[in-house]
């Protein structure tokens, strides 16, 4: 007879196991002189804010580089068993890793982490905003240590990195950035996805050396955080001077987003003499418009039309600019007329969608009426 579930439970309960459990987590500290590629000491508040952060006073000595290794992806059953924290101390970079060798060490780990965190003002991470930090917050709650948790301003490098390199690299995991952007190669690295499995294997065997790879992986990640911050700061100091036009264009968009229009337009102008000409010029014109430099914006659209770029959008945008902001309804009518010749004509290749043509026709009709009124000199028909 096959044993039923009850029988199997009984059998399992009869076995007893020895119990050994140290209560203090393991603390590992590594110091090294700051290598030039990680030397973030010169990074300024302005540079940091160009990355999309809104920090009033950035002080590199108060910045904590954070990365955790966890037993899973989400929910109350996921534990951060390794908390790696790095910072600049004099001309050295220090990494302190807190390792939970078993569950009873977690409370101690969290307390040491809280003590360490207390000395800093900002957390620098890669995806920490939505992963590491909320997870730690949850762990403090579960350990009844919520009173020890403090919320921090954050500089999450995932977002500026994505804005900067996604066009060229697609999804931007940290390891890819290391390789393609920072030129760091890792040898024999443990992929992040295998970390939980490795930790559980360690728990079962008790063989701490299984975690060497994890510790190394985490240490490397923290070093990379510093290197990535430095590289991002450098990129945005001279965003137009990057090797790839895609990167220059992306940097332009990122700068436009955080209100650095001047720098952004510099990028778009550089990118506009590459294969990205059309996109870059569209962004450039938009940027001028936002800055209320309507004449420049109009010039940019004219340039595009002359180059055959931008399709009907360029014509329409130009017509709007001329009519509304430059007081030139006649010019607008002329451009609309040109657009219709170009896109509603017989050429099968250049025919625009019916709704675009229809919109153009409505615009033309309206502009014609307006022009007729102006010509007639009817009172109230003059431009404001």
């Amino acid at each position: 007879m096959m044993p039923g579930l009850r029988g199997r439970i009984k059998a399992a309960a009869q076995k007893t196991r020895p119990e050994t459990a140290p209560r203090e987590c393991k603390v590992i500290e590594a110091r090294m002189p700051l290598p030039p590629w990680m030397d973030v000491r010169g990074v300024s508040t302005a540079q940091v804010n160009r990355l999309g952060a809104k920090l009033s006073g950035w002080d590199v000595n108060r910045a904590l580089f954070l990365d955790t290794e966890t037993t899973g992806l989400h929910g109350a059953g996921t534990v951060a068993f390794l908390v790696g924290m790095g910072w600049v101390e004099g001309d050295e970079f220090v990494v302190r890793q807190l390792l939970m060798r078993d569950y009873p060490e977690e409370a101690h780990l969290l307390m040491v982490a809280a003590d360490t965190l207390a000395r800093f003002h900002v957390i620098v991470s890669f995806n920490g905003k939505s992963f590491d930090v909320p997870l730690l917050r949850d762990r403090f709650a579960m350990a009844r240590l919520r009173h020890r948790w403090r919320e921090f301003p954050q500089l999450d490098l995932l977002h500026p990195a994505r804005r900067t390199w996604r066009l060229r690299l697609g999804a931007c995991p940290l390891c890819m950035l290391e390789e393609k952007v920072l030129g760091i190669g890792r040898e024999g690295d443990l992929p992040g996805a295998e970390v939980p499995e490795r930790y559980f294997a360690y728990l079962k065997s008790g063989d701490l050396s299984l975690l060497d790879d994890v510790l190394r992986h985490n240490l490397q990640d923290i070093h990379t955080l510093a290197a990535l911050l430095l590289r991002l700061a450098q990129v945005y100091d001279a965003p137009e001077r990057q090797a790839s036009a895609l990167d220059v264009f992306s940097a332009g968009r990122a700068l436009e987003r955080c209100g650095e229009g001047e720098l952004a337009r510099r990028c778009f102008r550089v990118a506009s003499v590459s294969a990205l000409s059309q996109q870059a010029r569209l962004e450039l014109a938009k940027s001028y418009r936002r800055e209320r430099e309507y004449q420049e914006a109009a010039e940019t659209y004219r340039g595009m039309i002359a180059r055959g770029e931008g399709g009907p959008t360029a014509y329409i945008s130009l017509a709007i600019l001329l009519e509304r902001y430059l007081g030139d309804a006649k010019g607008a009518l002329e451009i609309t007329q040109k657009a219709l010749w170009r896109y509603a004509g017989d050429s099968l290749f250049a025919r625009a969608d019916a709704d675009i043509i229809e919109a153009l026709e409505r615009r033309r009709a309206r502009l014609r009426r307006k022009a007729a009124l102006e010509d007639a000199g009817t009172p109230g028909g003059a431009p404001p």
Binding site: P3, K10, A21, G72, G75, A76, P104, F200
Partner: protein
């Protein structure tokens, strides 16, 4: 004619009355009122008065008093007796008193929660107080979730969402858990069997987390009429309950009429179709503009009856819309529209399946016609409860079908009226279910040594088992979740029987149409590939059955045969927990493995029923470990009986027991299965098994073990008193199955067993 006049004319009609087996009249009852209790916030009272509630019914007052006194309560009163006030009143009052207070409302389905929370929103709005009530379910947009977690005073959700999102992510719900004052479980009678056993464990997890965050919530439960509301609520919440069941709401005079269609073929025991009789009787009501609900047993019946009634009142004014069908498979917006139409009187008649049985608000109607016995006493009362206004007469008319169960009920009205409604049983300590939830609980919060999860089974051995399986790690006096997996994602609270397959008509390649749904237990029998499937009197052939994605693709055909699949069910005993070889009959109780598989189907010619050939069926085997009770036929009872007669007799007894056992166990027929083995490998004797139809069982087999002689006694009675000559579908089954002497042998065997 109005309803009173219709009732008078029916009473005077001998043609009608000769088929009536029972006419019960329940006199009208006035309202019993009570004032608002002391200490209820003036704003709540004002808002209620504004909505026309000047005072409370006595049961509402009792409920509120009990809650204010800190008791957990379960309120059992009929539909539309002001149940929701029993929880909205104390909950809103508590929040007004302390703005930090939180409450969690649980409804079995999304549709119900939408319906019931509307009432709450209106009340909150009328108060103008800063109380935030939100629905949190699969449809809640991600952006809204954060503010619900932080600021929702009342969170309205369902057990599935609680299980898979709120509990495993409890650290994001700290505000709710720290201040949880009330847990409201409405429609608690819906949580029976697997669903109820799961919910009981979800509640254990909820209470465990609440305790972690320092709160001890009170429970307010509401139930439709069942035999054991207090017991069920206590099983599910694990708390002592105060029962509030003395309804103070008024009701008008009610008539309950049992109608048995006349016999048309005495020899075969065939009666006139209940569908046709229902059609005729409901026509009478609808033609006279009596607002009526007709409950049909199947979706097909719904369509047929609705179409007929629509035809009946169709006129140039588009009046056909005053008759509507209502069943599972209709779109939610369409259902809401029908519910609204019923409430405001735009719709005169609705033909529904039991989808309208749960507490969806459709107001109350004048008449209810049941086409066939709904299967349980509780369901019958639930459905009958749809008719009956606070003032004025109402009618419930039950038309029996020719099934054994219907015939038993219709010819034993005293049984129906005397018997309490069925028990709703949940078994929170079903080992399989319990084990699943211990996993989830450990994920949510490590188990501490000595901690008990529920009161039934010892927790520690189960933790040790999970440790051995690698799910948990025991260290430092705690058990920690110790794998990457997310256990709640792998556990569904509802039984596999709740998962429906879509039936898709692909006759028109450009326009696939979903024509129906079927539960997964029936699918292998009726929708295997090449099966001829009948729908709406049309023939279809199944072209493809996609088991994984739960879809059957069918195409219209015209053939002169139908198909009949062979379901092969085997049962093997794993452990015998209890055995009594000396009892009469000898019996046992234990854990069994039930395997069922459809292996082949027969093609049968219409009319002649000739076998035209076989076809293979390639479908996965369904396996289930559950609890079973069995009894064997002792040698001395077989004395002097031919083998063939013996088999026929035993088959007959088994088929009678299959019909009767659910009645006396007070469960739904599909919850229990009966199987007969001519020579069982375990007992080595002719054996009849009763097993719980869900993995792990909910305790029905245990009950059978204790009441077996009584069951056999009733089976003998019923067979003896059946009017047929040598067996019919209403007793031992048709003669073709049990043989010419089947009925007689069954009676003789039962007499020997019980002497």
């Amino acid at each position: 004619m109005n309803l009173e006049q219709i009732l008078d004319s029916l009473r005077d009609s001998p043609a009608f009355m000769k088929n009536v087996t029972h006419w019960e009249t329940v006199p009208a009852r006035p309202a019993r009122l009570a004032s608002f209790p002391e200490g209820i916030d003036a704003r709540v009272q004002a808002a209620l008065r504004g909505r026309g509630v000047q005072s409370l019914y006595t049961h509402q007052r009792l409920a509120v008093d009990a809650v204010l006194a800190g008791e957990n309560i379960v309120v059992v009163t009929p539909t539309a007796s002001g149940k929701t006030l029993c929880y909205n009143l104390p909950v809103l009052n508590a929040i007004l008193r302390n703005g930090d207070s939180r409450a969690l409302y649980l409804f079995p389905t999304k549709a119900l929660s939408a319906d019931q929370s509307n009432e709450l929103y209106t009340l909150v709005e009328a108060m103008g107080a800063p109380i935030k009530a939100y629905t949190y379910d699969g449809d809640t947009p991600a952006a809204a979730r954060r503010s619900i977690r932080q600021a929702g005073h009342v969170v309205v959700t369902n057990p599935d969402m609680l299980h898979a999102a709120i509990l495993p992510g409890h650290t994001k719900w700290v505000k709710l858990f720290e201040n949880l004052k009330f847990i409201v479980i409405d429609e608690i009678h819906a949580y029976r069997g697997v669903f109820g056993s799961n919910l009981a464990n979800v509640i254990r997890r909820l209470k465990r987390l609440a305790a972690f965050y320092g709160s001890t919530p009170r429970f307010i439960c509401c139930s439709a009429t069942i035999a054991n509301p207090k017991e069920l609520a206590e099983q599910i919440t694990g708390e002592p309950m105060t029962l509030i069941d003395d309804n103070g709401a008024p009701t008008g005079e009610r008539h309950m009429v049992f109608y048995n269609p006349p016999v048309v073929n005495r020899q075969l025991g065939i009666r006139k179709s209940s569908l046709l009789e229902t059609r005729a009787l409901s026509s009478l009501l609808v033609r006279n503009d009596v607002q009526t609900i007709v409950f049909a047993r199947s979706r097909l019946q719904v369509e047929v009856l609705a179409r007929y009634l629509k035809e009946l009142i169709k006129d140039s004014l588009g009046n056909a819309g005053r008759v509507r069908g209502y069943r599972g498979g209709y779109l939610p917006t369409q259902r809401r529209e029908i519910e609204r139409g019923l409430r405001n009187g735009d719709i005169t008649a609705v033909v529904a399946t039991n989808a309208l049985e749960l507490g969806i608000d459709i107001g109350r109607l004048d008449a209810c016609v049941l086409c066939g016995y709904p299967g349980t006493i509780a369901s019958t009362w639930q459905q009958a409860g749809r008719a009956g206004r606070r003032r004025g007469t109402s009618l419930t008319l039950m038309v029996a079908s020719s099934s054994a169960l219907d015939q038993y009920i219709i010819s034993h009205p005293e049984y129906f009226f005397k018997q309490s409604p069925e028990n709703a049983l949940a078994n929170p300590d079903n080992l399989y279910i319990l084990m699943n939830h211990i996993k989830c609980a450990a994920y949510e919060l490590p188990f501490v040594e000595g901690e008990a999860f529920g009161a039934g089974e010892a927790t520690e051995p189960m933790l040790a088992f999970l440790e051995e399986k690698g799910f948990l790690r025991r260290t430092g006096g705690q058990w920690h979740w110790s794998t990457e997996a997310f256990p709640a994602a792998e556990i569904s609270l509802r039984s596999a029987g709740d998962e429906n397959f879509m039936i898709i008509d692909i006759t028109d390649a450009a326009h696939h149409v979903i024509i129906g749904e079927m539960d997964r237990y029936t699918v292998p029998m009726l929708l295997h590939e090449q099966a001829i499937y009948l729908h709406d009197a049309r023939q279809y052939q199944v072209e493809k059955l996609d088991f994984e994605y739960k879809k059957a693709y069918i195409r219209q055909v015209e053939v002169d045969y139908y198909t009949d699949a062979d379901l092969n069910t085997t049962l093997r005993v794993l452990n015998a927990d209890k055995e009594d070889p000396d009892a009469l009959p000898p019996r046992g109780l234990g854990e069994v493995l039930v395997t069922s598989m459809v292996t082949l189907f027969k093609k049968m010619k219409f009319g002649t029923h000739e076998n035209l050939g076989f076809g293979p069926v390639d479908l996965p085997e369904m396996e289930m470990t559950t609890s079973a009770c069995w009894w064997t036929l002792p040698k001395e009872a077989m004395r002097g009986l031919e083998t063939d007669d013996l088999q026929g007799g035993m088959l007959g007894i088994a088929s009678m027991l299959r019909q009767l056992a659910p009645l006396y166990l007070m469960c739904a027929p599909r919850d229990l299965s009966v199987l007969y083995h001519v020579r069982d490998t375990f007992t080595r004797k002719p054996t009849v098994y009763f097993y719980d139809n869900c993995p792990g069982g909910v305790g029905l087999a245990e009950k059978v073990y204790d009441m077996l002689p009584m069951l056999l006694d009733h089976a003998g009675e019923a067979i003896k008193h059946c009017a047929c000559e040598g067996g019919c579908p209403s007793c031992v089954g048709p003669q073709a199955e049990v043989g010419p002497r089947g009925k007689l042998t069954a009676i003789r065997l039962l007499e020997r067993l019980l002497s």
